[in-house]
Symmetry: D2
Subunit: 184 residues, 4 copies
Amino acid sequence: MKIASTITAPALIAAFTPALADVVVNRAITETEVMAAQDGWCQALVDISSTNAKSGGEAATALAEKVIDSAYGYQMGAVLFKPTLTVNPQTFRTTRAGALSYFVGGDSNYPNDTGFALKDWTKCEHETTATFIAGSSASTMGKVHFTDKDGNVTTVDKTWTFVKDDAGQLRIVVHHSSLEFTGE
Amino acid sequence: MKIASTITAPALIAAFTPALADVVVNRAITETEVMAAQDGWCQALVDISSTNAKSGGEAATALAEKVIDSAYGYQMGAVLFKPTLTVNPQTFRTTRAGALSYFVGGDSNYPNDTGFALKDWTKCEHETTATFIAGSSASTMGKVHFTDKDGNVTTVDKTWTFVKDDAGQLRIVVHHSSLEFTGE
Amino acid sequence: MKIASTITAPALIAAFTPALADVVVNRAITETEVMAAQDGWCQALVDISSTNAKSGGEAATALAEKVIDSAYGYQMGAVLFKPTLTVNPQTFRTTRAGALSYFVGGDSNYPNDTGFALKDWTKCEHETTATFIAGSSASTMGKVHFTDKDGNVTTVDKTWTFVKDDAGQLRIVVHHSSLEFTGE
Amino acid sequence: MKIASTITAPALIAAFTPALADVVVNRAITETEVMAAQDGWCQALVDISSTNAKSGGEAATALAEKVIDSAYGYQMGAVLFKPTLTVNPQTFRTTRAGALSYFVGGDSNYPNDTGFALKDWTKCEHETTATFIAGSSASTMGKVHFTDKDGNVTTVDKTWTFVKDDAGQLRIVVHHSSLEFTGE
């Protein structure tokens, strides 16, 4: 048996450096990206509130649409979204319209929605208890604390799952938010 | 340029059937597997309850340990588990011990736990609103209805994320459960 | 402890059908999709050849660009592409330009390329030996048989790895092709 | 609408540190892990050769079995393995037996195998051109240079795809190796 591609060792040793790859495409989600996505979600909520206060509901709605289109994965077909304050039989908001109505209200198809993002939030902080990075998806679980203009804080238990889109941006595909159980 | 591996067309055509692969290893999670995992979770909860009623708390605890070890992913390092009825500062149960205490109580480290699986459940039904299969992980969101021995039904909003282990079994790595918000 | 969301069992039973989810987003790659992607690759190669014969090199190049942009993942940053007939030091074609040159030649940066897709291929058949679906990626390995206008068949050993893009289309991110070893 | 879990802002601010998660489970494959797996593969090949020289074929076979069982994914059902020097109709070695025979020979079911790992290799170096990390799988492509005891070097083009097992170890699920095309 003849092996065609035999070259002498010295030539070989000169020809390469046994280091990392020249090119690396990394589609795995990192903890840093997850934290940045959560920062972005919090900032967007406060921005919608302040836009509403300054420029009115129409501007707030336009911003909310932009946020949903850039931060959620509705264009993939559906998002598993259980907002904090929805009630039966419209608990789950698997469509973009249902998400938008939850954040800014004003949709007669969702008569109970008053617009969670319009509640004059001035601060939003996430406190992640645990992160599970599966590889092409990543989930976090923790508390999110919302402060309104009067200084009142509302805390929710929140789970998010993110995937990375073609442009490398994280998108929320699962979002479960619930008020804390108080034992009463 | 000479291409070494040229053979005549007739021989080639005889040599292969242009069909599916001879061997397929499929590690992707299917909807059927997700539904079976949810069935299994529900059945396990009822089984722990009935074991407790028939054979006592020790037997129920032994079964709960078996269920946790086979259905959850604690051996991977942690599970993102927010049970329905936990309270601060022990809301999240990222360890096996915390999960076990939630289901069967009796752990002085978790003084508020009374054992959710010991509440004489006779029926558990899952009603999945949406499923997102990312590939190597899959999430579901929906309602789970628990019926106790007196016929009372408790409904929760539930999100599960599953991954597949080396043996091909699904394991829960995210579990967020919350009582329905009633608007009050 | 009071559980807020208790309703009576009969109401519950009427309210849901314990079936599959209403909405399923499935990003996992299926065997059917992989086979279709391989069919598409083979057809594209033959199409480039026939376009070249009928309409000339410019039209063939335009088609090759379209094929590369739709079937490969170069827009993600790089593709791991080892074409059948490349030689050192340009064995690997991790850039779009390198792939295009391999298929249609005419790029002075790749002086050894004569255009694999221009070799008057009239038939291309893939014979997959094994498929491994990891979930969000899938790989196949097998033979691909190319028949030219004179009926000569060239067979290569080929490995492809695919991922799914945002639009749900498979894209080649790994492509290793090699002439069969003949033992000589 | 009453939000149950409102607490005052100062208490909240004291209660958490807005930092990274307390617990992170990361199943994504890293570039470092991929490089270590390739180092391990190279070292194992040299070890089998030296074991064969020192202790004979039986010891080399035992070591090869250990290497296959720890570094490949045959226990998942199949591996997409195209070794460098196999010939038709046994080109692909999707079973453990086929892989073992390729590395150490001695299996009458594979009469052409002479044992690639027994060729007195004293050095094995990998030179990765590109890495694609899909998340829960990762692929590399590059050259691997084998030096034998006489100082002759054989170079192959190699593609590997790895997945992570439950224990967190990478396993090869795709392995395509081919002699360099020389243009003749």
